[in-house]
Assembly symmetry: D2
Homo-oligomer: 437 residues x 4
Amino acid sequence: MNNLLSESIQQITGQLKNWRRDFHHFAESGWFEFRTATIVAEELHRLGYSLKMGQEVIKADARMGLPSAQALQDQEQRAIKQGALTAWLPHFSGGFTGIVATLDTGKPGPTLAFRVDMDALDQNEEQTPAHRPYADGFSSCNAHMMHACGHDGHTAIGLGLANVLKKHESQLIGKIKLIFQPAEEGTRGAKSMVEAGVVDDVDCFIAIHIGLGVPQGELACGSDNFLATSKIDVTYCGVASHAGGKPEEGKNALLAAAQAALGLYAIPHHSKGSSRINVGVLQAGIGRNVIPDHALMKVETRGETNEINEFVYNQALNIIAGAAKMQGVEYKLELMGAAQSSQPSPRWVDFIYQQARQYVPELSSVVRSRKQPAGSEDATYFMERVKENGGQATYLIFGSELSAGHHNERFDFDENVMTTAVKTLATIAFHLSDFEG
Amino acid sequence: MNNLLSESIQQITGQLKNWRRDFHHFAESGWFEFRTATIVAEELHRLGYSLKMGQEVIKADARMGLPSAQALQDQEQRAIKQGALTAWLPHFSGGFTGIVATLDTGKPGPTLAFRVDMDALDQNEEQTPAHRPYADGFSSCNAHMMHACGHDGHTAIGLGLANVLKKHESQLIGKIKLIFQPAEEGTRGAKSMVEAGVVDDVDCFIAIHIGLGVPQGELACGSDNFLATSKIDVTYCGVASHAGGKPEEGKNALLAAAQAALGLYAIPHHSKGSSRINVGVLQAGIGRNVIPDHALMKVETRGETNEINEFVYNQALNIIAGAAKMQGVEYKLELMGAAQSSQPSPRWVDFIYQQARQYVPELSSVVRSRKQPAGSEDATYFMERVKENGGQATYLIFGSELSAGHHNERFDFDENVMTTAVKTLATIAFHLSDFEG
Amino acid sequence: MNNLLSESIQQITGQLKNWRRDFHHFAESGWFEFRTATIVAEELHRLGYSLKMGQEVIKADARMGLPSAQALQDQEQRAIKQGALTAWLPHFSGGFTGIVATLDTGKPGPTLAFRVDMDALDQNEEQTPAHRPYADGFSSCNAHMMHACGHDGHTAIGLGLANVLKKHESQLIGKIKLIFQPAEEGTRGAKSMVEAGVVDDVDCFIAIHIGLGVPQGELACGSDNFLATSKIDVTYCGVASHAGGKPEEGKNALLAAAQAALGLYAIPHHSKGSSRINVGVLQAGIGRNVIPDHALMKVETRGETNEINEFVYNQALNIIAGAAKMQGVEYKLELMGAAQSSQPSPRWVDFIYQQARQYVPELSSVVRSRKQPAGSEDATYFMERVKENGGQATYLIFGSELSAGHHNERFDFDENVMTTAVKTLATIAFHLSDFEG
Amino acid sequence: MNNLLSESIQQITGQLKNWRRDFHHFAESGWFEFRTATIVAEELHRLGYSLKMGQEVIKADARMGLPSAQALQDQEQRAIKQGALTAWLPHFSGGFTGIVATLDTGKPGPTLAFRVDMDALDQNEEQTPAHRPYADGFSSCNAHMMHACGHDGHTAIGLGLANVLKKHESQLIGKIKLIFQPAEEGTRGAKSMVEAGVVDDVDCFIAIHIGLGVPQGELACGSDNFLATSKIDVTYCGVASHAGGKPEEGKNALLAAAQAALGLYAIPHHSKGSSRINVGVLQAGIGRNVIPDHALMKVETRGETNEINEFVYNQALNIIAGAAKMQGVEYKLELMGAAQSSQPSPRWVDFIYQQARQYVPELSSVVRSRKQPAGSEDATYFMERVKENGGQATYLIFGSELSAGHHNERFDFDENVMTTAVKTLATIAFHLSDFEG
């Protein structure tokens, strides 16, 4: 089997690169993955997977940080111009850019799910010859959108895995589910797929990422330090008045925001672990001589555990409300993103660790976990749901050399990591019968 | 009449001084005027005035800044030891130390009321030979109580006036009411007398003060710049916890108070006139390593008009409540004092101005009004009530040289001002039929 | 003389309207008055006035709130396209858009100066038929620039006055100076002309405004309640860092600004009169998950007197500096505008009052002063300088019905006010020998 | 040897209890341990130890949180009345209540030091029969002083150990140093002994505590989670003024403290580990109508490592200084206490772990370390100094059942723990030659 597998993977190496570079060039940020999703759907359909798409796999009101209806429409038009396959587009229209592809082997066995994400970031890409994507002609052609985190590679890996698994379908048991998620950046998309029930039948779950500081050639089988997080936009709405002539008629939204910002940063530390709070953006007022009637704060809470993040979040809600009360202004809260903390399942990590060491010699190093800088990832929603139902879940990181850090305008990765990832993930699928779940 | 009057006043000059020095020596601060009130009552009764006292003239729950029941009891005992006339004491027991004496001439005519206050301040008096009250043996014998504002003189003037009016009762018309008020300091007592209806039948009203920056020998007939004010004690009550071990279990009352203090000072200015806000005292927390669960703020609002003060006060209420909400703590508000702004009645001021110029040669100067530093006075409650009922009201200031400013530990005044005041007030009463109200 | 004057004014009424509408259509905001200034210069030159322009009358580094060099260049190009007279343009290039025209009668006598301002506001104009300037085809053709305060009328009045005075030059004594000032909005321009010495030789000074709440047909001869003001832009510059990964490496500019904003609003009230403080705009941070390294505050202080404004301003400087210290961030202050309070000269006001009542029957009412809402005006710089040198100065307001308040997008005025203003100002000039300065 | 040791310890069991109860009854809080120190000195002297005391072992200006000279004098007088041995008192007078007793065996070998602390807490003790110290007649007779942390037991253990070691001196090698430290509460005393050089010659160091949540019968050989800490008193000194009359003349210390408090709680979290900040006490102002000219804050910083605590402390200094600048007030900082974090030496912990398991059967459990709630301990100063010099250091906790938590008014411990502690410590001393340092 392993030889056959290696051969199959060999055959799709070029295709992996083509997909990745195509997605990179036509980078689409969260909830705008219209072109990407149609290409993914077409390929999975071609391979014979059974597809669920759009509102079947995304719960509308569980989407967070959704762009305006106008922006969604504009970007869909942009996607059409850039070659989106229009036959598939209606499924994704309006910001429902998710796909779940199922391969039912007909044999008894567990349901194994793989999740990849498809969205780019809201930033410009470096456009100079020193940046390989530019030199090789595949840097982003969309302003303010760039694959600076590697999700283009993740999507390509998902398609490559779909090919290999289908090709050797007879070696598989149970069911395989391939989940293509929108809007991971800002941790906005996973919850809507989980609430649509996408992993309710899943026994074994794997999410992946490339890079993240893991050395080239290494696999971390159970990344365990994602912080739970909440992203909130707070809007204060007061009453403007002339600051010289009628100061008493104003309701000062800027002052409410300033009070809130101070209160937020002063939220108590938690004895059970790390927490974070940030007011990353504050924009208030329109004129020097007008009592400011409007303020916007972009806030983010984090916690080492869900409990700690909830503590910070609940404190924040009180502070935000209290500051409004102090200045007699109205306020509005919008949840723009959220993720959980989640511990990988130990036995599942062990199994993957053993399989990777034994069957994937391309990996120069396999480790169980690796302390990373404190970030957040909404794959944790899938992991927590699977574990709640008694399943096994983990998060794999495939190491790669990077040309610059994630979210940097010069970010790029070593494309060989995609082949290694497909091989590793396929290996786990083919040996799943050895896992005592 | 004027000669007779001058003669009568001559006869009580010594007595005015005796009264004043007795009250000064046994200084009693607000709601503790037990000894003073019994002496006042005895003298008015002796003269033949009809008396109402205690709960007849003070509405219990309209009293502000009342000391504890224990303190009231202790001070009543202290008063007994210092010669309070125990026959009258039951009327005043429990903090009801007000008296209204009425002289009904039986003749038709308006009801004319004079109001004086009786309370000392909560402060120690200078006890050195350079301070005349000490040198002459009448400085306060009560710790933390001192007549440093001249109310001892006001009470003496009230008694002197009672004597003179009674002696020449046949020259009077209508009714005379003499109001002896407790707890003017902190503007705590007037409201309770007004709410008991004490001036509901009054047509012409005069409150008086000595000193206040008016030059020796001058009378200001219509002081018009008292600020409306509210005095609030704010208590925040949170939850203590170990700041190192369990910071997340605390509810931080100190932080709520700090937020509130900042918010209070930031209350908008008012385009219609001056306002003031002060957090004069903040006491919070018990130990360095404990999240503070308790905080007390002593707050004061002021406004050039009642409307402005209410604006500031209402803003303050929101700020105080909002800060509690921010930190998840409980709070309690206690109104410790209040006064209004009040404009004197122009025709009444004019009448007094004419009378004083014509009949009181002892006054070297008579003016209608005089800009004073911004203070507050709860006689304004009486004034506003009288004016609401269609009556006439004003506030007279009798100038005096002072040995030191009001509320200073070396405060003293020129006792001759008392004779002049009695003569002026009596003159107004005797000529009242000339006033076209 | 009066008949002759009336006739002359009659002749230019149409021209006043043409000028006004031309300036209105090609509205130019502060320091961008390139087209306007060339037209003014051409007309004054045509009439035979002696001109000083640009850097001769504007001290470069005393200009406040100057736009960027790029914006100045762009707007100069725009002005050329819109018909600026290029022969005059070099004088004004780079933001030196001021003119002083002198008429020396050769006769002995005082120097009398009139000041008008030429700039529009940074706002869009209503473009609907209900708005007369739009209906009549002279609404602003420049985005974000609109004459919504009447300075288009002031400039026209200045030119009309120049015509009439020149025509009857023989009736004049001493010297006449006509000052055309840029950038009054935001109180940015006057100081630079005063520091260039423009009024150092002036004995009698008049600044004018139309509208401002004064009723149609009324003249207020000595407006006396402009607030002293300072406009400051505060920039905090900290250090960005990832809010989740390295919070301790950040220097939080947003937090500094929030602390400063609270501190600024909490500046004490002043016992000598009104004061104001406003933080009208606060913009900080770039991303939700980044410690904000940049914050901008647009701040404004005001005071009933220069002393009070300076008190507020100095307090503000401490607060701004202290907040920077608290968060370890750098800060930069830029003075964007300033004006003074200034009392008109009583005898000069009286003279104008008498002249206007006697010789300008078009005025249905003449008053000495009129309480206005609290605004600021940088003509006060001229007034203070003239008075310092022993001269006489005042500020005239010509009442007009307005279609909407000043600074409103539908602002318009009754153009007849221009004729009345020219007549009044010329009358003063022609009778100046009657003034005993 | 072990049998001899057990026998010796048997003989002093009663004495341990007597000492402990005597110290408990005459509880003396930090820097006031006059009576305690004289009794300790007398006993150590009687046994033949060589003593250094007072300023020989305490660096005067490294003492933190020292009471006033008056209080020191008063308490020394109190100690005399309660039986302090006056011959020894001069050494300790003025707050120098530390002792170091040395036993030089004359044989080669390392210097082994034991440190105990002697001070009580500033709190009242429960005085009811349910509280054993009260029932048995040895509860504190000193108001506001109580041994609620077990230091009375520590001092008794030190004396018991001194007895046993001296008795079997021939079994020892090198030198033994017994350190009796004042003022551990508030982490105020250790630094002054370390700076006096008390452990500069020490090779092996042990500090001890009883209780702290370790179960009865258990020994933790290397407690490793004390937080580094700094205790600061901050005093703001402004200018008072009448809040109504002259608000602009005040410099508001309360406002500075409120700004600082908010800033302090908002100090960034640290990515390398836990930190804490608390403003435990804030007292400001004297009267409701006075701009507050004085404020006191009791502040505490903590960090999981010295680096983190220093980060928090340095941020705090900026915030405190910046808030003073904002309000134009002066400020004063006083370091009232400090402690470090310190990791125990692994080999030394191992050695003690082996010895205790082998030779002290009284211990039902021996562990290397135990996660405790986050507190601070200034023995860490000794540990860090010893380790800097290449020595070995650790912190031992002897478990005990407690009647109530540390610092509770009903705190009491099982006195048997003292015997076990003496035996364990003596065992380590007698087997020291087995340690390969």
